[in-house]
């Protein structure tokens, strides 16, 4: 007889959550993702290349037209160095959203992958953490590649910039969690238009390409509610080593979003699949 691990309380989550929700096996779901992507590794190449194209375009294109802008501390900085950390945040967002909406929707609606998982001791929170965790790992891989290129291009000027990678993971985590929660509401593939409708303006207006001061007053308030704004601000400050206390607020906003997303996803999965 094989030894099937029961629901022995290991770790904090296992002790405070009902066993029906979480079995502590999110890692098995990440294993599944690794296997499934090990044969489709080419998608990784595209995920790494896409933000690099942007970076190169800005370096040889916009960089000529717009030479210098005011950086986070008010000091002048090259436009490319201004945009690069924002692009890193945006690529973390894009990768995470793509993975956690398209991928999840397909598995949820058509392949019934999660039904199969939930017939085992695995619970909805395992599925949420496993899938979101995978999106974060993928986002992290892209971030490392991007960060390397930023270095090579001389866009990194502060040792604080090393923190860009963990911040990219946090951004990916927040967007993957929210994205997966949203994916459970999608009914048909055409509704992915709504995902685009949320992601594209966020990409364009979250101070990615121009500073907040460019926007009229009331719009500034709206911008500051966008999750990507917080990722961009964090990264831009870190990339030049200008730190300020509001960064704690940015981190808290993203962390809260991530936590809410995980919670909402597991609730939705339980509500839809275990009924």
């Amino acid at each position: 007889m094989p030894v099937t691990e029961g629901t022995r309380p290991r770790g904090l989550l296992l002790r405070i959550l009902p066993p029906g929700l979480y079995a502590g096996r999110a890692s098995a779901i990440i294993e599944r993702s690794m296997l499934s992507y090990s044969r489709g590794w080419l998608v990784f190449v595209s995920g790494v290349l896409e933000p690099l194209f942007y970076l190169v375009a800005f370096q040889i294109g916009f960089g000529r037209l717009v030479t210098e802008v005011a950086g986070p501390g008010g000091q002048p900085m090259p436009y490319v160095a201004f945009v690069a950390p924002a692009l890193l945040a945006a690529s973390a967002m894009n990768g995470a959203v793509f993975d956690s909406t398209f991928g999840v929707f397909f598995k949820f609606k058509y392949a019934k992958t999660y039904d199969a998982m939930l017939a085992t001791p695995i619970g909805p929170l395992d599925v949420a953490i496993g899938e979101i965790g995978w999106a974060v790992l993928r986002g992290g891989l892209y971030a490392v590649a991007f960060f390397g290129v930023m270095n090579v291009m001389g866009l990194v000027t502060s040792p604080w910039a090393l923190l860009l990678v963990p911040v990219a993971l946090l951004v990916a985590f927040a967007f993957a969690a929210i994205g997966m929660a949203c994916a459970t509401f999608i009914r048909s593939p055409t509704q992915f238009e709504f995902v685009q409708l949320a992601v594209v303006p966020m990409f364009l207006f979250s101070t990615t390409f121009f500073p907040l001061s460019v926007f009229p007053g009331p719009l500034q308030v709206v911008i500051q509610f966008l999750p990507l704004y917080h990722g961009v601000e964090l990264m831009r400050g870190l990339s030049v080593g200008v730190l300020d206390p509001t960064m704690a607020g940015h981190v808290a906003y993203l962390a809260a979003l991530a936590a809410f997303g995980v919670f909402a996803t597991s609730r939705r999965l339980a509500g839809l699949l275990l009924r």
Partner: protein
């Protein structure tokens, strides 16, 4: 293994299961027979601890699914109505990854996957993706997958629906083997032959309730006659015969396309029919099946 009392499942205003009592013993093959929408799958999902009951009592492997869901699921095998194999993985990976969901070690699932591919006759397709497999192969893989944790209780929801006869017989053979190894089987089906082949005991479900319970032969003896005479008539002529034919047998069922006469001797009923001037297009004398039981209990045939 399973003990249900007055089990109820409601979805909003709709009551899918309306008070079901079931007792499944270790080592037996137990069937839920009924048409689509009878409440079989809802009952199965409650037993599989993936659907909380709305009312009544339920114990699976001696535990309450509401409280011990994961512990129950760890000892169950589930073959869902619709194959939900992982289309992004190969045959072998499907088995291994599923074993990992149960918390089994990598070494164990590697051995187990090899063993199960042999059992399901899929060894040659081990490194293939799932999508190009035939319906029968996918079904066998789903069954193999459900065995990865060496379950004590195997739940099969319409295991052979949509398969060709050859694939069905191969599948039944695998299920017999499992049963002989002591695995308890619970099967839902709307196929009479499947229920007769596989089940030691079954319940006939209709409209969320249990209409009858027993072994296939018991049910036939209780609710039907030894033989059935089927008479077919040219379109439009059947109605005229109904009045005449009524007295020829113990019981008669009028179906849209034929008359069923329930009697202990089909041949002599046919002779009497001819003697009364009944001239069917064709006639058939056969033994009673569970289909006749179902017809008797509900007034409808199972598969339309």
């Amino acid at each position: 293994m399973v003990e249900a009392k007055a089990l109820v499942k409601r979805f909003g205003d709709f009551e899918a299961v309306r008070g079901v009592d079931v007792h499944v013993r270790r080592g037996e093959a137990f069937g839920f027979l009924g048409p689509n929408g009878a409440g079989k799958s809802s009952t199965m999902r409650m037993i599989a601890a993936v659907s909380p009951r709305s009312d009544g009592e339920l114990k699976v492997l001696g535990m309450d699914p509401d409280r011990d869901g994961p512990r129950i699921r760890a000892r169950l095998g589930v073959v869902p109505q619709q194959d939900n194999l992982d289309s992004e993985l190969t045959v072998r990976q499907n088995l291994q990854v599923y074993g990992r969901y149960f918390g089994l070690s990598r070494a164990h699932v590697r051995r187990k996957a090899a063993e199960l591919m042999g059992f399901a006759q899929l060894g040659e397709r081990a490194e293939d993706e799932v999508e190009p497999l035939s319906g029968g192969m996918k079904r066998r893989l789903t069954i193999a997958r459900s065995l990865v944790n060496d379950p004590e209780l195997l739940l099969l929801d319409e295991p052979t629906t949509g398969l060709d006869p050859q694939a069905r017989h191969l599948l039944w053979d695998r299920l017999f083997r499992l049963k002989s190894e002591g695995v308890t089987l619970i099967v839902t089906t709307h196929y009479m032959d499947e229920a007769e082949q596989l089940c030691d005991r079954l319940v006939v479900m209709d409209g969320g309730r249990i209409a009858a319970e027993g072994s296939p032969s018991e049910l036939i003896a209780r609710f039907s006659t030894r033989e059935v005479l089927e008479l077919r008539f040219p379109p439009g002529e059947q109605d005229a015969v109904v009045a005449v034919a009524g007295g020829l047998a113990q019981r008669m069922e009028v179906l849209p396309d034929r008359l069923l006469l329930y009697t202990d001797s089909g041949e002599s009923a046919l002779e009497r029919a001819y003697a009364r001037g009944v001239r069917p297009l064709s006639s058939l004398v056969r033994r009673s099946t569970l289909e006749d039981v179902f017809l008797r209990l509900t007034g409808r045939s199972l598969v339309e």
